[in-house]
């Protein structure tokens, strides 16, 4: 049931086309890939491998509102997101490029705070911003600040994580509780009157991933469950590998404040974005070593095994629920909306 191949003709771009869900796939498949397709791009990985070299490259734009939210801001997000996209593909982030689109009238102090955050997060990730660009657009043409970061990373000699290498029996590990970034930002944007202890998990994960890769000989696959959440990522992985992936609901860590905020908004924590989480797939024999290594790192102290790759060749992702039943996980549609019904 590959929903992403369903035709959905659109005449105007909707917000959900940028939601990282099924509608984003539609936009890519209908408009981008037919025009720009090449072997590197068609992999649709978080980073592209520069042909013939030992380099990976990635780029991402950040338009988050509000600019500052509990646990992070657009600057920290822009550095972390790009660093993580390189790291999960097996590349050591080496340098970043930063492009800023600023709205006329933006307060100097806001820009200072954002840039301070970019600097601090880059320092935390051990990467430098080596080039950049600044544009200012007229009042009302942009919402405060938009950032774009591109990153270059060096590929290690270890085998690169790739969906094609996933085999039955492989074990899925997540480095901590899910759904916190998406909920924090949604509450800050849609329901500013809510005061929550929730904080975004946004963080550069290259340190954690480095620790992991030193500890295990082979990381089969890695990816950060950003937009589309854990469900989007695992459903996508199941589809790409053609294997069944089973997740255990009771093993997936969700903090109560996140679970209850999601319940209130009518959302499924599995479909909500993370910015400091990584899903790691390893061979069963290396699961304990991987877990132990991740737990040594501050960003992996709550790491746990949440599922495994099953032998069925149906490309479906299933969830073994808390009552002992089963359901299918699919890539969410797109934009997450608070609902009361």
């Amino acid at each position: 049931m590959p929903a992403s191949t369903m035709p959905a003709r659109f005449t105007h771009v909707a917000l959900a086309h940028g939601g990282g869900g099924q509608l984003t796939d539609v936009l890519l498949n209908q408009l981008v890939l037919p025009r720009l397709s090449n072997p590197a791009l068609s992999q649709l990985l978080d980073s592209g491998m520069i042909p013939g070299g030992k380099l990976a490259m990635t780029i991402d734009s950040y338009v988050v509102q509000p600019l500052f939210f509990p646990g992070g801001d657009i600057g920290r997000l822009a550095v972390s997101g790009t660093v993580n996209d390189l790291a999960v593909c097996g590349a050591h982030p080496r340098a970043l490029a930063l492009s800023m689109i600023l709205a006329e009238g933006l307060e100097r102090s806001v820009l200072e705070r954002v840039l301070d955050s970019v600097a601090a997060t880059a320092c935390e990730a051990g990467v430098r911003v080596i080039t950049g660009d600044t544009k200012v657009v007229g009042h009302g043409q942009a919402d405060g600040i938009y950032l774009t970061t591109a990153g270059i990373g060096e590929l290690s000699d270890q085998p690169l994580p790739h969906p094609d290498r996933v085999e039955p029996g492989d074990v899925l590990i997540i480095n901590g509780p899910i759904a916190e970034h998406g909920l924090t930002v949604m509450l800050a944007r849609e329901m500013p009157e809510v005061q929550s202890v929730l904080r975004s998990d946004v963080a550069p994960l290259n340190g954690l991933i480095e620790t992991l890769r030193r500890a295990v000989a082979e990381v089969v696959f890695m990816r950060d469950p950003t937009r589309g959440g854990l469900a989007g990522l695992t459903a996508d992985l199941a589809g790409r590998t053609g294997r069944r992936i089973n997740l255990e609901e009771s093993r997936i860590p969700v903090k109560p404040e996140a679970k209850h905020a999601a319940d209130m908004l009518g959302l499924d924590p599995l479909e909500i974005a993370n910015e400091g989480k990584v899903l790691v797939v390893v061979r069963p024999g290396q699961a304990q070593a991987a877990l132990a290594a991740m737990r040594q790192h501050p960003l992996g102290k709550d790491a746990c095994i949440i599922g495994y790759v099953a032998p069925e060749k149906d490309g479906m992702c299933t969830l073994h629920t808390s009552i002992g039943g089963w359901r299918i996980l699919q890539k969410p549609y797109g934009e997450q909306l608070p609902r009361i019904c």
Partner: protein, 95 residues
């Protein structure tokens, strides 16, 4: 359309209430639950408190359901009410 979640009423000023939902505090309109007191569990739907929850009733139902099959463990059964589970849960317990 009937998503409603239990939350604890912690403040009230006229019809303006504030509830706590496990670390999420949100304002709710309490005009439909004028008898609710601070500390009560109330059911929230679309920004409105729609009913005060009666923990005693919840205990009775759940005890009844569990008791029929198991003679032992009434004490345990009492902890099955969603409200109590929510009230008792700390971050560690639900993880």
């Amino acid at each position: 359309m009937c998503l409603a979640v239990p939350a604890k009423l912690i403040e009230q000023d006229g019809h303006h209430g504030m509830v706590d939902l496990h670390g999420n505090r949100l304002p709710v309109n309490t005009m439909m639950t004028p008898d609710a007191q601070n500390g009560d569990w109330i059911l929230i739907h679309a920004g409105f408190a729609i009913e005060r929850l009666d923990p005693e009733e919840a205990r009775k139902t759940w005890a009844l359901i569990a008791d029929v099959q198991r003679a032992a463990g009434e004490g345990e059964a009492q902890e099955h009410t969603p409200q109590q589970r929510l009230a008792a849960a700390t971050p560690g317990e639900l993880l």
